[in-house]
């Protein structure tokens, strides 16, 4: 256990602070550039296996990261690069994991879908659609078990596809029954792999998926970081004050295919182009910051250049990092410590 941090209390002002707005631009751009570089490295055969990019959805995780308290936990599925970066983990270690290198966050044993950083309260990185939802509910159970007046909140992310999985509803029921401090973030990027929400879901307003359990839900413009921030503050207040779970459906969009191997024939190029041109979360925020005179074009350029350098350095360093030592093959299967204590 590290030093006990000074306990922060729930933020309440639904307007983002100026510095949070500017840093959101930075944080979202970092994720975007990271994913672009990851896509390149995948194309070069440097990254193996499955690789699901987060480009287009950056406002969701960034707005929530600005509203959360440090000890709040995050857990998500396999599209997790943005989430671990939003928790403040060094892009170098994330890139090294993607490349299957020794300095990866999971020592190269997890890969793209299995990133973790427990010190930063990020619990993965799970490859089975929907499986992270009961686990995230269990994190909330542990928070409630501590009987803290101001408990940590479990932020449990899943997609529109997972929202049809049975274990999600088992979790909703228990979370509502026991009033667990959890917020469920449904990142509705409109396609579960190649199947649109309309083709998969009888009730397409996913924010209402908790209704039969009495769980409140809101639909949020997940391309607007300020809207995400404001909505998540309400959800955090609700969960932290002992009222139980809250659902936020983030209407968002992924620019890439489901994974790198997805030709994305199920949607038109014009649809993606329109989203990129007119609804891009990063450009929208940039325009807004310039309009409000919180950032100049020059400052924006400086941020872009800095991030370009950070990602280049992270990627180059990760490419130089070696693969895990063969001795790592058979470690971390079990916790080896003596359990007599």
């Amino acid at each position: 256990m590290g030093k006990k941090p000074v306990k922060q209390t729930q933020k309440t002002n639904k307007l983002m602070r100026e510095e949070d707005l500017v840093s959101s631009y930075h944080d979202m751009l970092l994720i975007r550039r990271f994913e672009e570089r990851a896509g390149q490295l995948y194309g070069l055969g440097k990254i193996g296996g499955f690789c699901h990019l987060y480009s287009g959805q950056e406002a969701v995780v960034t707005g929530i990261a600005k509203a959360k308290l440090p000890e709040d936990q995050m857990i998500t599925a396999y599209r997790d690069h943005g989430h671990i970066l939003a928790c403040g983990v060094d892009p170098y270690n994330v890139m090294a994991e993607l490349l299957g290198r020794a300095d990866g966050v999971s020592k190269g044993k997890g890969g793209s879908m299995h990133m973790f950083d427990v010190d930063k309260h990020f619990y993965g990185g799970h490859g089975i659609v929907g499986a992270q939802v009961p686990i995230g509910t269990g994190l909330a159970f542990a928070n409630a078990y501590k009987e803290d007046k101001n408990p940590a909140v479990s932020i449990t992310y899943f997609g529109d596809g997972a929202s049809n999985q049975g274990q999600v509803y088992e979790s909703f029921n228990m979370a509502a029954l026991w009033k667990l401090p959890v917020i469920y973030i449904i990142e509705n990027n409109q396609y579960a792999m190649g199947t649109s929400v309309e083709r998969a879901s009888a009730q397409t307003d996913l924010s209402q998926r908790g209704r039969s359990f009495g769980i409140e839900g809101r639909q949020v413009d997940g391309m607007d970081v300020e809207a995400v921030y404001a909505a998540s503050l309400e959800a955090f207040e609700h969960a932290r004050s002992g009222k139980g779970p809250f659902i936020l459906e983030m209407k968002t969009y992924r620019y890439s295919g489901h994974s790198m191997s997805d030709p994305a024939k199920y949607r038109k190029r014009e649809e993606v182009k329109d989203m990129r041109q007119h609804h891009d979360p990063i450009n929208m925020l940039k325009d807004r910051l310039i309009e409000r005179k919180l950032m100049s074009e020059e400052e924006a350029k400086k941020i872009q250049d800095d991030i370009f350098d950070v990602i280049e350095q992270a990627a180059n360093k990760a490419l130089e990092n070696g693969e895990p030592d063969s001795s790592a093959l058979m470690t971390d299967i079990y916790v080896e410590e003596n359990h007599a204590g």
Binding site: G104, H114, F116, G124, G127, P134, E170, M174, I333
Partner: protein, 462 residues
């Protein structure tokens, strides 16, 4: 004829019961559905209702009497016009106390009319115990309960969660008294959501708590097996050691009695297959306590495969809060020199009976209880085979890719030159378990089948 009221069978495995109290007295008029008595089984206190209208003619057995075999007449109801003298049947004598705990009958029905004599088996003392250890006689059920209670007293982060574990005190009464002592915060009834509980438990374990997840039976854990394998077993490795999952999944495993294929399945081989899990399957009450306590203290996910038919079996259990058995260590239940029998859980009944039976014919069997299925203590088995040169494996699970197959592979690899006969496996037959009494018995390992296997590896005529 007066209506005979008999000790009812109130569960698939109930063999005897106790009349906790009569709620009527002789001469009372009763209607069908009225409560006549409270019957205490090994699982619950159940009200016995009148099946017909009538007058309570005779209460044959006093309240407070225990160990009344199922189907023993306990009372007679007189219908209109009937008198006490119409009761012709002599009241059955209640045995004072059944002989030594008889292992559940798993033999095939004898071909002849000779009634088989129950075989009394003896089990060697646990070599890990000091000779002067204080002991108490307990059932497996009580030993498991005490293991949880002791660990909960010791560690605030240990909690028990599952269906009917709290107010109902466990579908098989294993969690009896825990709610009363530890309260609803730490003994938690859940909805019927095996997958959800397993995942919630995993999340709580990731966050530092030590959940004991009870599955009403392991048959239902198949709903949860994704969380057990993909989340509990693998995350420590996938996270490069960052995330730990100190969780126990426990409950009855294997065939109960006549509950058909979906409720009668041995998952030993399934879970033993998975790196990242530890798997134990205790046979005796002492092992049940020592291994469950070890499982709760272990920083890894541990499956504790119990057996419903063993829950009521009593044996000496060490009185100690620190009776922790090593996971991964087999135990020699009976030393012998001619043939090695390797088994676990309830199939050991058949092994011990076979060993006892054949010892009269001069065949000296060594019986090994694996106790842990992962890690598997092959060293103890190999050392035994090097001594006896013959091996029979016995398990309730199916033969294909089973525990016996794994043991056989290890022994042929490490002790090939010591074998004087091919290894022989006794397993559950390769079939979904049938319901019919005779077919079910035929499908499961039995004393006779074990004796046949021993005769085969010893090249004896049976």
């Amino acid at each position: 004829m007066p209506v005979e009221v008999v000790m009812p069978a109130l569960s698939p495995t109930m063999e005897q019961g106790k009349i906790a109290s009569w709620t009527v007295k002789e001469g009372d008029k009763v209607e069908a559905g009225d409560v006549l008595a409270e019957i205490e089984t090994d699982k619950a206190l159940v009200e016995l209702e009148a099946a017909a209208d009538g007058e309570v003619g005779k209460l044959v057995i006093e309240a407070g009497t225990s160990d009344i075999p199922v189907n023993t007449p306990i009372a007679y109801l007189l219908r209109d016009g009937e008198a006490l003298s119409d009761i012709e049947t002599a009241p059955a004598q209640v045995p004072e106390k059944p002989e030594a705990p008889v292992p559940a009958a798993s033999e095939q029905p004898p071909a002849s009319s000779v009634v088989p004599q129950p075989i009394t088996v003896t089990i060697a003392a646990d070599p890990e115990l000091p000779a002067d250890a204080e002991m108490t006689e307990q059932s497996v059920r009580e030993a498991l309960r005490d293991a949880m209670a002791e660990e909960m007293r010791r560690d605030e982060t240990v909690f028990v969660i599952g269906e009917e574990v709290a107010e109902y005190e466990g579908a098989y009464k294993v969690t009896q008294g825990l709610l009363e002592e530890f309260g609803a915060k730490r003994v938690i009834d859940t909805p019927i959501v095996e997958h959800g509980i397993a995942g919630l438990g995993v999340g709580a374990a990731f966050a530092g708590l030590k959940p004991v997840v009870e599955f009403m039976t392991f048959n239902f854990a198949m709903q949860a097996i994704d969380q057990i394998i993909n989340s509990a077993a693998k995350t420590h490795y996938m996270s490069g050691g960052l995330v730990t999952c100190p969780i126990v999944f426990r409950g009855p495993n294997g065939a109960a009695r006549r509950v058909a294929a979906q409720h009668s399945q041995d998952f030993s081989a399934w879970y033993a297959h998975i790196p990242g899990l530890k798997v134990v399957a205790p046979y005796t009450a002492a092992d049940a306590k020592g291994l469950l306590k070890a499982a709760i203290r272990d920083p890894n996910p541990v499956l504790v495969l119990e057996n419903e038919l063993l829950y009521a079996v009593k044996a000496d259990v060490p009185v100690s809060d620190d009776y922790i058995l090593p996971i991964g260590s087999a135990k020699i239940l009976r030393a012998g020199s001619d043939v090695t029998l390797v088994s676990h859980s309830r199939s050991l009944d058949a092994c011990l009976e076979a060993a006892t039976s054949l010892s009269a014919e001069g065949v000296d069997c060594e019986v090994i209880d694996l106790r842990s299925l992962r890690p598997l203590d092959t060293a103890t088995v190999i050392a035994s085979v090097q001594k006896t040169n013959r091996l029979v494996t016995v398990e309730e699970g199916w033969p294909v890719a089973g525990i016996g197959a794994e043991i056989s592979a290890a022994v042929q690899s490490e002790a090939f030159d010591y074998l004087d006969a091919p290894i022989t496996r006794v397993t559950g037959l390769d079939v979904p378990l049938p319901y019919a009494d005779n077919l079910e018995k035929m499908a499961l390992p039995s004393t006779d089948k074990v004796i046949q296997a021993i005769n085969t590896v010893c090249y004896r005529q049976g």
